[in-house]
Subunit: 201 residues, 2 copies
């Protein structure tokens, strides 16, 4: 039984995020992760069954923290627009604070291997469920259109945040992602046509 | 010098799309691609330097065809809204007609390896330049907001199309992607708030 907590577990997770971000999952070696963590290969195998287990654990840990933070922040806002703004801001802020994590997230969450995909899926579903709640709330509040195709709307929200992060990572973090919070929030609500004059939001 | 055309070249491209979609780039073997193509390994190496060359060539060929079709279709429409609708429709139609191609596109266009990324980049840039032209046109026509953050808008368009395709692929093609054309088009233009009553579009 692999250990799933403790100081060394955390150190390995950090090291794995870095090494996988740098080399990609398939080219990364467990021995590189161990070296980065300052541990022997054998120690890593006390905590993780294999490289696949490491990858899925990084997703669970890192994205798990992200989702926890997101839930806390969303809870501080009462209305759908406040929550949507928080979602955009937290997504960009959390991922951009650690370039390796951002790179890891943009590249490694799409996996061809079905076992890995199945391991990652619950985390992605949890994120989507937060988005779906905001959409439901917006329809209830009559701020979002009652004719909204909810699945299409969820894909738009996630896709826009995700692609904005991808373009940031692909340009090696060379633009101010925080300056995108406002325009992205505005685009999601008002679309390409923009705000209607004289109307709030 | 690797050959870059001919009947066998096309057969290998088709086989590679299938095998890479099924196993993922890193787990796919050149020998599997050769077998799928009904050719010997040696023949594959007459056409391609190595597996990386195959991957980049698949992107160039398949996405190249996609972009050609897109350009033709966009040219049939005069205004920004007609062009945007064509973009959404062609994106979903072209990729969904071949499940392997759709799977390949959603998983393999994000690569950690910098060499592969550099090989794929020109194709992605070309697609983005088509999106950018539609955005420029929409601003010129005063249909899209003059205050639009163009880069954010381009990420929204690409991200929404891409994420919709991802969700289709992840659900093994089990929803009618064509039925998403209309709602996605509407969301991109009007956002979550939806159409303003009494206004066209």
């Amino acid at each position: 039984m692999a250990l799933k907590k403790g100081e060394k577990y955390e150190v390995i997770i950090e090291a794995a995020t870095k090494v996988i971000a740098r080399h990609g999952y398939y080219e990364a070696k467990v021995s590189q992760i161990a070296k980065e963590a300052g541990l022997g290969d054998g120690t890593v195998y006390l905590y993780f069954k294999n490289k696949q287990d490491i990858l899925i654990s990084v997703v669970e840990e890192k994205m798990g923290n992200f989702i926890e933070l997101l839930k806390e922040r969303l809870a501080t806002k009462q209305d759908c627009l406040g929550k949507l703004y928080q979602l955009v801001e937290t997504h960009f802020d959390f991922l951009s604070q650690d370039f390796n994590l951002a790179l890891f997230t943009q590249v490694e969450l799409r996996q061809a291997n079905r076992e890995i995909r199945a391991g990652i899926e619950p985390t992605i579903k949890e994120y989507y469920s937060l988005i779906n709640k905001i959409i439901e709330k917006g329809i209830e509040e009559k701020v979002f259109s009652e004719n909204l195709n909810k699945r299409a709307a969820a894909s738009m929200i996630f896709g826009t945040l995700d692609e904005t992060m991808t373009s940031w990572v692909m340009r090696d973090g060379r633009f101010d992602i925080h300056a995108r919070v406002e325009p992205v929030y505005d685009l999601l609500i008002n679309g390409l046509k923009g705000k209607v004059k004289g109307k709030k939001v």
